[in-house]
């Protein structure tokens, strides 16, 4: 096949290209220039492009650069800022996969005559007995990235190869070293590529979002317990950073963020527990599925059992668990295979309504 491999300048995507060559594919590398601002690393800086280009030369494949900066601004950075402004938790890597890698790049690759695109994600594309495909966890469970690929449907999966999903990170690194790839010892990229470690999330948002000073109140008594500089930077479930512990020394958690009233609600861990979470913007690998699933709420969190009702978008946990921050992605698994996922609506006590579900506000 003619395969366009997205090379970030990291070790995984370089080795992905090498594995595709080994498998006999006709391989071309591309680095997407996504972010024009400051960046530590990730997929954006000129030095990462250089690393990708050098890797491509070692492998003897053509390398191109595509500037998808407009799309990245519109579909990743702007929603990231808007989510924070609304007090929600954004998923920039997921939105980048959804809109940039597996939409913009895939469409362009097909227009340019490629049969498939490939990335260096640690996940697998597996065939089902009925002929459909699923994203499944990578062979290296500690590095598994299936969570950030939950949005891929059959249309994308038909044109996607994930070559490193079948091997471990250690094997990736040793293969890179054996091939003499300059990225063999490059550290894994961390965090959000358009946010630098020196200024952090707060520094990035400060010039882009008007920060709202807020009150911190007790979730039961309503008493004001303190103040924060920016409610936009507070996330449900957060324990540090609001400067509190309970009077009896028990830890307190953020149980609600209301940007409109500039109020942070806190309480003991039990106030954070919920039985269910309602998802919006649910997408499916193939067909909608209701019934018993495992659900994962962060990139490296545990998948916990529950029951999903596709008609209402409601996931009911088998055991109460900490509530999912609004906006966070919840990914549904059947065993190792991703069957779908969506974004958490405001859920549980003391918080918002699910307008699109009518009067479906959940009360514990």
């Amino acid at each position: 096949m003619k395969v366009l491999v997205a090379m970030s300048g990291g070790v995984d995507s370089s080795v992905a290209a090498a594995l595709l060559l080994d498998a006999g594919h006709h391989v071309t590398g591309v680095t997407m220039k996504l972010w024009g601002g400051e960046s530590d690393t990730g997929c954006c800086s000129v030095s990462d492009v250089d690393d990708a280009r050098r890797g491509a030369r070692v492998l003897g494949i053509d390398h191109h650069v595509f500037n998808f900066g407009d799309r990245f601004d519109a579909d990743v950075v702007s929603p990231y800022i808007a989510a924070h402004a609304a007090g929600d938790t954004p998923n920039p890597c997921i939105e980048c996969n959804r809109h940039v890698k597996f939409d913009k790049l895939l469409v362009r690759a097909r227009a340019l005559g490629f049969d498939a695109i490939a990335t260096g994600h640690h996940a697998r594309v597996v065939d089902q007995p009925d002929g459909t495909r699923r994203i499944a966890r990578g062979a290296d469970h500690a590095k598994d990235q299936s969570y950030v690929l939950y949005m891929l449907g059959q249309r994308q999966l038909d044109g996607t190869l994930l070559p490193v999903g079948g091997i471990t990170k250690a094997e990736v690194r040793s293969m890179a070293a054996r091939l003499g790839l300059p990225t063999a010892v490059k550290p894994d990229s961390q965090d959000v590529c358009f946010i630098t470690s020196s200024t952090g999330r707060a520094g990035f948002l400060r010039s882009r979002v008007p920060f709202t000073p807020g009150r911190v109140v007790d979730g039961v008594t309503g008493a004001e317990l303190g103040r924060v500089d920016a409610v936009e930077l507070v996330t449900v479930g957060q324990r540090r950073g609001v400067g509190l512990s309970g009077g009896d020394g028990t830890p307190r958690y953020v149980t609600g963020v209301d940007v409109d009233t500039a109020t942070i609600t806190v309480g003991p861990e039990r106030d954070l527990l919920g039985d269910e979470v309602v998802l919006r913007d649910v997408v499916w690998a193939d067909q909608p599925v209701s019934g018993q699933v495992h659900a994962q709420c962060s990139a490296h969190g545990a998948a916990l059992p529950g029951s999903f009702d596709a008609a209402t978008g409601t996931l009911t946990w088998d055991q109460p668990r900490r509530r999912v921050a609004p906006g966070q992605a919840v990914v549904l698994y059947d065993g190792d295979a991703v069957i779908g996922g969506g974004l958490a609506l405001r859920s549980g006590v003391n918080e918002g309504t699910n307008a699109h579900l009518g009067d479906a506000r959940t009360v514990r």
Partner: protein
């Protein structure tokens, strides 16, 4: 058709990117080779070998002065167009305001932005808005920089009118012109005559990369940015790139000698290319009037596609071209020139610059005419 190592390895190519760089003229290579091998003296030295190099610089200076309409002593050798442009702008920051047009090359625009200068708009024709220029000028202005020909859309700027306006409204100001793209096509010696400072770059007219000239006319109060050994009459320190300068002079001589013949040969090829694409590809917009452009420039916008994808397909079919200016990463950035012309972003994103030159043949044009229409059609059909 089909020159160079790439062509030898990969078969003939249609190289239509002369505004990015040109093949070095064989005569220029021959002229520079002795200075890379036997004649390696430092032109600032005192002995015979040093004097040999210095004589070569003097000869080059005479040739370039003739080509640029200045005195030999007004030639300052630089590392290329960017250094010349930067030196011009930065020499006047701190002495007053600096002013440039919105379609200058980044080598002018970025220094002007850095010092908080004034940027003057252009008309949709691609020509600087003279009313806006007039409005931007006052007695505090120390430097005005207006290019002679634009690097993307090829439009020629009315420098003598600009000069009149500058003399009338900013009498203290010096006038700089970036003639990097103009030199292959225009009589810079005549057209840049009203400018106090003039930049050119060798690799745009058949010379090697990494060498250029800033003309600094006598009497112009120029402050050196690069100081040290005092070369170039204290205007640019650093040992001169003797081989590059010798080659540049030879390329300049050939360019001036052949300019009219090249224009006469290239203009119909450019017109055949542009007209052919306008006729065979619906939804194509020519960015500027050809009567106001340099002869080698064919600049079109194809609606409904993205340049990057088009360039990829053209490369696969051995046509080498550009869209907007390339950034250091190799990615295509949105064009500030097309934005300044008021071209909507969705049209501008389908821009294609085909730049012809001395080496262009009818076969190059034939291949481009055969390859581009189906590539555009394919991208429109499948999305890019």
């Amino acid at each position: 058709m089909g020159r160079g190592a790439y062509a030898r390895q990969n078969g003939p190519v249609s190289y239509l990117d002369h505004a990015a760089s040109t093949p070095v003229r064989a005569e220029a290579v021959a002229a520079m080779l002795p200075f890379l091998t036997e004649r390696y003296g430092n032109p600032s030295g005192a002995h015979a070998m040093a004097r040999d190099a210095r004589n070569a610089l003097d000869d080059a200076r005479v040739i370039l002065a003739d080509a640029l309409g200045c005195k030999p002593g007004e030639i300052v050798f630089t590392s290329g167009g960017t250094e010349a442009d930067n030196a011009a702008v930065f020499s006047y920051t701190g002495r007053g305001a600096v002013v440039c047009s919105a379609i200058e090359h980044h080598a002018v625009l970025d220094p002007v932005h850095r010092v908080g200068g004034r940027v003057v708009g252009v008309r949709s024709s691609g020509v600087v808005d003279l009313d806006a220029l007039r409005a931007a000028l006052d007695e505090s202005v120390a430097l005005v920089s207006i290019m002679l020909a634009n690097n993307e859309v090829g439009t020629i700027q009315p420098l003598s009118e600009v000069a009149e306006i500058v003399r009338a409204h900013a009498p203290q100001a010096v006038l700089h012109t970036d003639a990097v793209q103009a030199f292959p096509w225009l009589d810079v010696a005549a057209l840049a005559e009203p400018a106090d400072l003039v930049s050119i770059s060798a690799h745009k007219f058949g010379g090697p990369k990494g060498v250029g000239v800033l003309v600094v006319r006598d009497g112009v109060d120029f402050e050196a940015r690069q100081i040290g050994g005092g070369q170039e009459r204290e205007r640019r320190s650093g040992t001169q790139n003797v081989a590059g300068i010798v080659a540049m002079a030879e390329a300049a001589r050939l360019t001036v000698d052949e300019r009219k013949a090249v224009i006469d040969r290239v203009t119909p090829m450019r017109d055949r290319l542009a007209d052919g694409l306008l006729q065979s590809v619906p939804g194509t917009v020519e960015s500027a009037d050809r009567a106001r452009k340099v002869a080698g420039n064919c600049h079109l916008c194809f609606e409904g596609i993205e340049s990057e994808a088009l360039l990829f397909l053209l490369e696969k079919h051995d046509v080498m071209a550009s869209a907007a200016a390339s950034c250091a990463s190799g990615a295509q950035d949105p064009s500030h020139v097309l934005a300044a012309l008021g071209v909507p972003r969705d049209v501008a994103q389908g821009s294609l610059r085909l730049s012809l030159g001395v080496s262009t043949t009818d076969e190059d044009v034939d291949l481009a005419l055969a390859v581009i229409p189906p590539a555009v059609a394919r991208l429109r059909e499948r999305g890019s």
